[in-house]
């Protein structure tokens, strides 16, 4: 409860009034920031300060604040979701910073993620990629008993790991090519590894990759930054698996 460790910080925050504005960094000071605050709570403090002073608060996306909804983003000091590995911005706490620090806060930057305002971007491209095939075509009521289809535990575990992707877009933001391969491959892998998803696997990978290209994401050049910055630790193996799936599906389609 004490504020004795309170920090004074300088923030350089990207301000952009709308999609057409060119945008620029603005400087703000916040003081008495507790190390127990989350990064977003620190931004709450800034916004209370701005609103009270008659200024427009900084817009940023956030919702669950427990690292699972994937709504928060932010490029903090040049890193997606800030300095910690495997942590979303909402779970980043101020004990990762020290008194006197200057912190740069920017939105995800990618052609396929246009800025809506300040730090908020439009990630609708991700939804459209899922709509292109990230599902099993089963209607409600048509399912057989769940235990009719045993799945080897190893496959189920791998599918689960791929399925933990929260769709935040850190992989795209951190990639020098703004590639969405890690995101797309996680969904392709989850469903390709399970017998339920196997039926449509070939069409799925072709359609999803096609949609990914149409959205304007770049290509993958195997630098692996996406895996490093992914808050859920989604593995590059998924990209390898997707490439195999894609190649085999393309050959069969010809």
């Amino acid at each position: 409860m004490t504020m004795t460790n309170g920090m004074n910080l300088t923030l350089k925050v990207w301000r952009q009034s709308g999609p057409k504005d060119s945008g620029k960094l603005a400087e703000y000071k916040v003081s008495d920031i507790s190390p127990d605050m989350s990064f977003l709570e620190m931004l709450d403090v800034l916004n209370e300060q701005l609103v009270t002073g008659g200024d427009d608060p900084v817009a940023f996306d956030h919702d669950c604040r427990e690292g699972i909804c994937g709504m928060c983003s932010l490029y903090i000091n040049g890193r997606a979701h800030g300095p910690q590995r495997a942590v979303t911005t909402c779970q980043l706490h101020m004990r990762s910073f020290k008194d006197g620090d200057t912190i740069y806060i920017e939105p995800w930057r990618a052609e396929a993620f246009p800025v809506i305002k300040d730090l908020v971007v439009d990630r609708g491209a991700f939804d459209r990629i899922i709509q292109a095939g990230g599902y099993v075509s089963v209607n409600t009521g048509a399912a057989q008993d769940a235990n009719c289809l045993p799945v080897p535990k190893a496959d189920a575990d791998k599918a689960f790991e791929a399925a933990t992707c929260i769709g935040c877009g850190a992989c795209v933001a951190t990639c020098k090519n703004a590639s969405a391969m890690l995101f797309v491959s996680a969904k392709v892998s989850q469903l390709a590894l399970l017998p339920q998803g196997r039926v449509e696997a070939e069409q799925r990978v072709l359609n999803m990759v096609n949609q990914m290209d149409e959205e304007g994401f770049g290509n993958c050049t195997n630098t692996g930054a996406c895996e490093v910055e992914c808050p859920k630790g989604i593995s590059l193996e998924n990209i390898a698996r997707m490439n195999r799936e894609y190649l085999s599906a393309s050959l069969k389609a010809e």
């Binding site: 699972i68 235990n147 689960f160």
Partner: protein, 667 residues
């Protein structure tokens, strides 16, 4: 006196739903295409309803305030989903799930709805597995189960500590499949501002595009509210920041009765408050109570030393620990229902035995579980002489595989390592059993207006059991509404497209625009959050884990004063023509300021203790909740009359035909 018709089918409890389905009116496929349905919310209830209704052929529009339907707060549910599959051969059945839910709800839920929920529970698991939801599996490739609070069987299906995420992504994939086909039109970053009622029927909504600020009119033959619960009335809760009551509250003001608003669930295992900056609380899944043991020091001097930072949990010897749940409730131990566990923790903390700097926390300890699992692993691997370090390390691996993501989250938030030192937890607002009153068909008191999932009041009585929220959300969306909505829509096939250029839409839109313009032009001095925090504190102090008449009366007066000040002093910056989150928040807090009063009124009126509603005046000698079945075996259903404090009460009497109502005991 009651104007409520719950439309419970006649017949034996286990025949009601199948008989209903056999006789309910149907809409033929050609007619479905010309019928429009609006779904507000894209969580488990909303996504599953929108996808299922679109598959059937209806023309669906779905709205969510987040940037994608995949963000809805169902995603944060951790522990699991119940289903009466009896895969464990431990005596589970539809009847037992039904019975446990009624008992867990402290005999304040409607039997017929709960039985239906238990009946369809198994179908949900089948559906999710078919969608590719990666539930935890055993080595034989079949689905694994675990136990959960308030039950003595293992019926909970799970995907590590993120079951809600996997189920929501399953429903989101079903929804995406329909969006791709054009059968669902999705409206992201849109907020429902009002329901439009035409000739007594819900015929559409006014929505606001949160990016452009545009106010839109959408018409439909039926409107489904799947907008979640209202726990954020407390400001601090485990709900996501955007969770709000506005859709339900607007419906309430348009004639939908509000059921049992005071039934709030306080979850026992949350990370304690760390300071005034706190914006939300984080839940540590109830599944942690499977293996963790909850305790406080036996001696007050130890508790004080811990509070002052002079001692740590590990410094207290085994003999000096009070495992208070195991002591008070030997039959259920650490797995008592949430309301019981929360109150027991509060009782110890109020008595001075709490363990962090605020004294508002108890320990959740994994040392025994790590030891136990380590020994099992050593035996499995034939390491009879394994040293302690090896056992501990193997035990930690097992715990990590079961709860790793939760432990990581705890470490991230508190800076403490829960593998080495006991976690600190405290109860926090988590779920609201109350919600819009609905009949057996999930229809509110406004014809054509439905409420599904946490937004309705129906299945959990006065206390919800763990792993039942996911079950109810998906039951309502996948397996209930697709049938029950036909009964209403079968009479709408000749209606034709609902026009939006009518006086009812004009009036609703004008009211929305006036309110937006009021907020932006009110040059007050105080932020929206400052009012929300004050409201939250009043609610937590007077209408939280324990309530009494005097406190509730005081709370009502305080809330009215805060509300009055809000309308004079609130400051909302920015404009209504671009993205303006402060404006969105202002509207939500305005509605919370009215709901809060109704909750206190309901709590004041209910002169008994049941489930999550604990009136200090009504308790047994050993501090347990004392129900009053003779006078309060009913659903309080409140009608809006123009002032939340003057709502009119309608009672739906609860009739127990199947289950014998007894005093709940977990001893």
């Amino acid at each position: 006196m009651s104007s409520l018709n719950s439309k419970i089918p006649s017949g034996a409890i286990d025949k009601k739903w199948s008989d209903y389905k056999n006789h309910v009116k149907l809409v033929n496929p050609a007619n479905k295409r010309s019928i429009d349905i609006i779904v507000v919310g894209s969580g488990l209830a909303g996504s599953s309803a929108a996808a299922s209704l679109a598959e059937m052929g209806y023309s669906v529009k779905c709205f969510c305030f987040q940037d994608s339907p995949r963000r809805a707060h169902s995603i944060a549910a951790q522990g699991g989903i119940n289903a009466a599959k009896n895969y464990k051969n431990d005596g589970d059945s539809v009847y037992r799930l039904f019975y446990d839910t009624i008992k867990g709800g402290d005999y304040r839920a409607r039997e017929a709805n709960v039985h239906r929920l238990a009946e369809v529970s198994a179908n949900i698991i089948d559906q999710c597995v078919a969608q590719g939801v990666p539930f935890a599996r055993e080595y034989g490739g079949l689905l694994d189960n675990r136990s959960f609070g308030g039950t003595q069987v293992q019926r909970t299906f799970y995907a590590a500590g993120q079951t809600g995420q996997q189920l929501l992504l399953g429903a989101y994939s079903a929804l995406s499949k329909e969006i791709a086909k054009g059968t669902v039109k999705m409206y992201n970053r849109h907020e429902m501002m009002d329901v439009v009622v035409v000739n007594g029927k819900a015929r559409g909504i006014i929505a606001r595009n949160l990016v452009t600020g545009e106010i839109e009119r959408h018409s439909a033959h039926a409107v489904l509210l799947c907008s979640g619960g209202y726990g954020n009335v407390f400001f601090l809760s485990t709900n996501a920041m955007g969770c709000n009551v506005s859709a339900a509250w607007k419906a309430h003001k348009r004639g939908a009765y509000f059921g049992n608003p005071c039934f709030t669930q306080i979850h026992p295992t949350c990370i304690p408050v760390s300071g005034d900056h706190q914006s939300k609380l984080t839940l540590m899944s109830e599944s942690l109570r499977n293996d963790g043991r909850i305790w406080v020091p036996k001696k007050k001097e130890d508790a004080i030393a811990i509070q002052q930072g002079k001692k740590r949990g590990n410094d207290i010897s085994e003999a000096d620990r009070d495992y208070f749940l195991e002591r008070r409730y030997p039959a259920f131990g650490n797995l008592v229902p949430r309301d019981v566990a929360s109150r027991a923790a509060k009782e110890r903390c109020d008595a001075g035995f709490g363990v962090n700097t605020t004294g508002q926390a108890v320990f959740l300890d994994y040392a025994d579980a790590i030891e136990r699992y380590g020994r099992i692993e050593a035996t499995k691997k034939n390491l009879k002489d394994a040293d302690q370090a090896t056992v501990t390390s193997m035990g930690m691996e097992v715990v990590k595989s079961k709860y790793g993501n939760l432990f990581d989250m705890y470490m991230q938030i508190t800076g403490d390592n829960p593998y080495e030192t006991p976690m600190k937890i405290f109860p926090a607002v988590h779920y609201t059993m109350g919600g819009l009153w609905v009949d057996y068909e999930l229809m509110t008191t406004v014809p054509g207006l439905y409420a599904l999932g946490e937004a309705n009041f129906s299945d959990h009585g006065a206390n919800r059991l763990g792993a039942s929220a996911l079950m109810q959300g998906l039951a309502d969306g996948y397996f209930v509404i697709p049938y029950t909505i036909g009964n209403f829509l079968a009479d709408e096939i000749r209606t034709g497209k609902i026009p939006t250029n009518t006086p009812e839409f004009d009036e609703a839109e004008k009211a929305v625009k006036d309110r937006v313009s009021f907020f932006l032009n009110n040059k007050g001095t105080k932020t929206v959050d400052s009012f929300h925090k004050r409201l939250g504190k009043v609610m937590w102090d007077q209408c939280g884990m324990a309530r009494n008449a005097e406190g509730l009366k005081r709370a009502i007066a305080e809330i009215r004063a805060i509300r009055e000040e809000f309308w004079k002093e609130v400051r909302v910056p920015g404009s209504d023509t671009n993205y303006n989150p402060e404006l969105d928040k202002a509207g939500r807090v305005a509605d919370f300021l009215e709901l809060g009063e109704l909750m206190c009124l309901d709590a004041l009126h209910r002169e008994e203790s049941c489930g999550g509603h604990f009136r200090e005046e009504h308790q047994t000698e050993d501090g347990e909740a004392k129900r009053d079945d003779a006078n309060f075996s009913f659903v309080s259903s409140w009608q809006y009359t123009g002032d939340p404090g003057k709502a009119e009460l309608h009672k739906e009497n609860l009739v127990y035909e199947t289950i014998k109502v007894v005093q709940r005991s977990y001893k």
